[in-house]
């Protein structure tokens, strides 16, 4: 049964999404570009917005959700206030980011893809950010730190979390 969609109330943000779709002549192949815009604006893919996008592009909601869940970059859940990205590319793996992930689990009880209960911190595992020469690499709210030992890396994270609170 098709989902009954309400036009999202926040018009300004919805307008920006409509603009993306119009730029691609509202064709079905605008879908992925549109999802990028939705995620840029809302931080995640809100299901109400997704239904509205499906309506607008005249494609089945199932296909929209199918695409949204296929790609790693898209998230259907809101992120926390801060995001820690741990790169797990080969060079970062060889240089000890696997230990950093284990440490995050042990000390902060977070696995990749999870957000802390107080909604403060999201942990994200990146496939490879392409800064392999600086391995091991982490990104604290988008700021890249690289070429540190395991101990130094965990110190950077603790310090950042302390300052961010």
């Amino acid at each position: 049964m098709p989902t009954v969609t309400r036009q999202p109330i926040d018009d300004r943000r919805w307008q920006r999404i409509v603009q993306t779709m119009q730029r691609h002549n509202n064709r079905p192949d605008a879908l992925i570009e549109t999802l990028h815009t939705v995620q840029d604006i809302y931080g995640y893919l809100d299901s109400t917005i997704l239904s509205a996008v499906a309506n607008h592009l005249k494609i089945p909601p199932a296909r929209v959700f199918g695409v949204a869940t296929f790609y790693n970059h898209f998230s259907l859940k809101p992120k926390g206030d801060h995001t820690l990205v741990i790169c797990t590319g080969t060079a970062c793996h060889v240089k000890g980011n696997d230990q950093v992930l284990a440490w995050m689990h042990e000390h902060h009880h977070l696995a990749p893809g999870e957000t802390s209960a107080d909604n403060r911190l999201s942990l994200v595992e990146a496939r490879c950010v392409g800064a392999c020469a600086l391995a091991p690499v982490i990104l604290c709210d988008g700021v890249l730190t690289g070429r540190k030992t395991f101990e130094e890396t965990t110190m950077v994270i603790e310090e950042w979390l302390g300052n961010a609170s």
Partner: protein, 538 residues
Amino acid sequence: MHREKIDRIITEHRQFLDQFNHHVFVCSGLGCPRNDEIRRALERAVQTQHLQDAVLIRKVGCMGLCSAGPLVLIQPQELMYQGVQPEDAEEIIASLGKSPIQRLLLPADLAFFTRQHKNVLRLSGRIDPESLPDYLVAGGYQALLKTLATLQPPDILRSIQDSGLRGRGGAGYPTGLKWATVAKAQGSPKYLICNADEGDPGAFMDRSLLESTPHAILEGMIMAAYAVGASQGFIYIRAEYPLAVQRLKRVIRDAEQNNLLGHSICGSNLNFHIQIRLGAGAFVCGEETALIRSIEGKRGLPRPRPPYPAEKGLWGCPTLINNVETYANIPPLITHGPEWCANLGTDKSRGTKVFALTGRVRHTGLIEVPMGMRLREIVDDIGGGLTEGHTLKAVQTGGPSGGCIPAALLDTPVSYESLNELGSIMGSGGMIVIDETSSMVDIVTYFMAFCRDESCGKCTPCRVGTAQIHNLLIKFQNHRATMADLEMLEWLCDLLKNTSLCGLGQSAPNPVLSALRFFRREFLDCIATEQAHEEVKP
């Protein structure tokens, strides 16, 4: 008419650049952190020392030696400073024209720089990536102008074929043959795609090229469009590379405004437009048929070939799809002629190749070498050997689709054929140096976890096989494996290689197979039975 406009831009920009006694280049790629701050600090220092008329601070692309970054290059003296911090700015500006600052200076004869042969990277770190005048002054778009004015599409196709250039995305398919197929294909419109979905963990060649010389990629694409008769192009790029995306958007706009893209390019009858499409994090979208579906706005599922995209690609139309580095090779190839490329490299692997050299090696970064160079030269000379106190175990090439080359075979020349013989691949050019601290079982488990997660799930061998192989590898990691598991592992790898639908599944067992070939002992050590020990005995 158009030629005159371009010549005018070149003359004016050259005059502008010549006003300054010193040019200070600041690397502004992702690999040099805080480069914005460094540039601002240098600009402030120029102000405070009242040298605005003598010193020009410029942002440039990647200089290659990321491990020594942030890098600053002083022209015309060719002094390179390493590990520069914003606090060094005053001192650097004050030292211009005097003796260099010894503590920051990189030796001019560093093998990392002298042993390379730069072709597609020749302008990287030498021009402002976003500046069209800079690219023009460096000789950019001359190959395109020459093409449009004096060459017919068949001439270009012949040049590409004569050069022996092969696709730099990994599989090494002859570029000339691919172009000729698209040029001949029936159907319209024809599309052109630049594959910038660099999903290999451990590779950053495409990112660096896109960030450093985006105009060169456009130029290669426009020439390809002319050769095959395409009117619409797409650059499919990872959303994880925001800086590259931002720079591409800028240079596409500049090219459009200067009639290098759009209708009747440079007064010729060529119409060509380029759109950017963002990937969304799916390794399988590096495979051409999956990438095409993703541009169509669908899940990136591959389909069986034939028909190949050259005949039925995007929306069922003939489509030329090449990697970033392949397009970047086109302008120099047309400028210097096919012989120039053909004379470099080995018999079947010609030209140069860009590699992302990383891992446990002293000098990490982006390098370009002629094909046929021995791995040992790359690791020991260019890479400066291993980090203190460590010994080389293997060099991993080709990412999750490649394999490991053990230290004993380090004299292997780097070419498509020689790497294939060793069960590895050139891949897009990731090269990771592994030392004795890493366990091969651990590394292949890591790669298999990656392939399991990235399998699109369309075909059973890949969907189920990668999961099964990964489970078996975990048994090895935990020292719970048996000889039967080893047999099963080899059997599954063989099955996956031969029955998977696309390149992801077909090549997923490569790391395991190459590890089993060269580091079998490590697997046998994980088997806790008498049987294993017996097999090891001579």
